[in-house]
Amino acid sequence: MTGDPAMLQVKDVRKAFSTVVAVDGVSFEVHRGEIFGLLGPNGAGKTTTIRMILNILPPDGGVVTFDGHPFTDQTRNLVGYLPEERGLYRKSRLIDTILYFAELRGMHRGVAKEEAMKWLKRFGLDDQALRKVEELSKGNQQKIQFITAILHDPALVILDEPFSGLDPVNQVLFQDIFDEMKQQGRAVIFSTHQMEQAEKLSDSLCLINQGRMVLGGSVREVKKRYGSNSLHVEFEGDGAFMEGLPGVHRAFLYKNAAELDLTENAGVNDLIAGINAKVAVRKIELREPSLHSIFMQVVGGPSASGATP
């Protein structure tokens, strides 16, 4: 993954709208066969970044290159895009809509039709190809939009909040397709504010907050750099004492459960023994740091506002 040159390079892009700086110096690389998570809370600048990558908005500064070249008309056929706000032509038929978008990405109509039917079938919508978009449920419309983003075999697919509004079954379906695309050597960028999703799916990530890049790199690196291990305990009794145990950096206490962020050189065995001595432990587990806790630590925590590493 690190050997070959990056397919997409985003270097120090900036964008300001009249009074607000939406994106301020974001840089990252995406390689072929990589699933890349663009993370950040709402309003962080994810969508603006995506728009700049896709040449929908010209950046005020910085450059975006595809295999070392700037965006051209040829690039348009190599990318696929699912915007955050879902929208299709409501009065048009599914199949016509899909074919139109495929043609716009330079696909031959006949080929597009065959492919479209394959995908519709996979999503269980092949019997509805001739129905109008407005007759479909929101979730199904999202599937159609997803198909339009990937039908033309793009080398790079950019999906803005692809999972919002999807039921768990279809989330799994989308994830399977992500994996397939990864196997085929395509690059997938998806944005999300849900850290669990990002953690499960992405190989690399870039975390944006208030237009600034807060952290980035492969998921493993990020975890190693910013996270500490944590101890998850389920127990019966009063757990208030855990906060004061040696090696506990921060504790989140719930009723009959606790999450303890550990300092780097905490003595895990001593800690477990200490807990065991005071409460009846049902389950105890040492975990790697979750992206969520890293996110909270870097962005949402009490000391987070100026916590750019």
């Binding site: 929908i56 895009y81 032509y89 048009s92 016509d96 716009l104």
Partner: protein
Amino acid sequence: MNKILAVARWEYVEKVKSKAFLIGLFLTPIIMVGMGVIPSLLATQEDKTSKSIGVVDGTGQLAVPFAHRMQTRYMLSDGRPNYVVMPIEQVPGAPVEESIGEADRRVASGDIEGYCIIRGMGPADTVVEYRTRAVGDFMLGARIEETIRGIIAEKRAQGLGIDPRVLKELQVKLDLRTVKVSKTGEKEDSDFLKVFFSAYVFMMMLFFLIVTSGQVLVRSVLEEKSNRIVEVLVSSCSPTQLMAGKVLGLSALGFTQIGFWALIGVAATAQFGLNIVAPVNALLLIVYFVLGYLFYAAVFIAAGSPLTTEQAAQQVTSYLVMLLVIPIVLALPAMKNPDATWIKVLTFIPLLTPTMMALRIPIQMPQVWEIVLTIFIMIVSIYFGMVAAGRIFRVGILMTGKAPRLAEILRWIKTG
């Protein structure tokens, strides 16, 4: 190029299938014919059955000769008299007002078509009142006027000792025929209705075409903006391709409409033996049609793409429609005086050129230099219009929320 065609095809096929298009396709000619033809047809239509008319005669001298003349002079096509004059009950010497109530009732009940009240004969003027429910029957009005005038004239002649035959000799009947002489010196039969009708039809066609497709254009851009399809579109093809495709597709749509209407027109022409326009005129009109259409497409794109709400779109389109209405308002004065300088000046304003030409060509062929110059002006305007529209479109289609100010839009045009 393929992408332009894909956009054009989409715009065309999706709109052709829409209900709005189909309704417009059939409704517009019906409205046009309805407004332009039916009233004049009805006004000049011959009666099929006899009409009963009453007379309330305050002079006691006019009722009898009036009845006689009305019943013998005007005949229906089947030989029966066109009018039957019924006397209204009247006490001799009593004022006419006493009979009016009864007469009005008979008009209201439909017993008689209407009735004349002759209150008296003045030394100079005589006022005759004709009361009816159908005040629009101009032909009957004219006939009553002519008949009573004749009777009074004869009575006066008698009083002056003039032989009624001399009076007949003195009456001059004049039939004025207007003949249009074309540029090449040939004469052409012309009558007001025909010229008015053809000028009017062409203007209305252009008007409806531009208005409907302009609205379609603005609405489609607005739809794409509001649901953000436009982001996918401009990441798939360049804004220039998108705009070109839209113009192409909607032009095809417009000309489908016109073609269909022209077909109806040709059929109607053959059916009723009308010869509305000479082929050369038709060709020229089509040229102005195409030019006008393209120019207005640029105007609608420029005006429509920065808009963000349906209300704003409606406002802007209605302003543009007002511009198009100007020549329609000017149709009558222009017809009276096609050489007026101000008419000529208006022809050179690109926004008005096509409709003004549609108006002028059937009335009086403009001079060659005028035609060449206006076509040139149109082509130049279309070029610059499209360039400016493209620049506005590129930025405007991505605008959401607050609509940009005019100064901002002008800056987009300048910076390109």
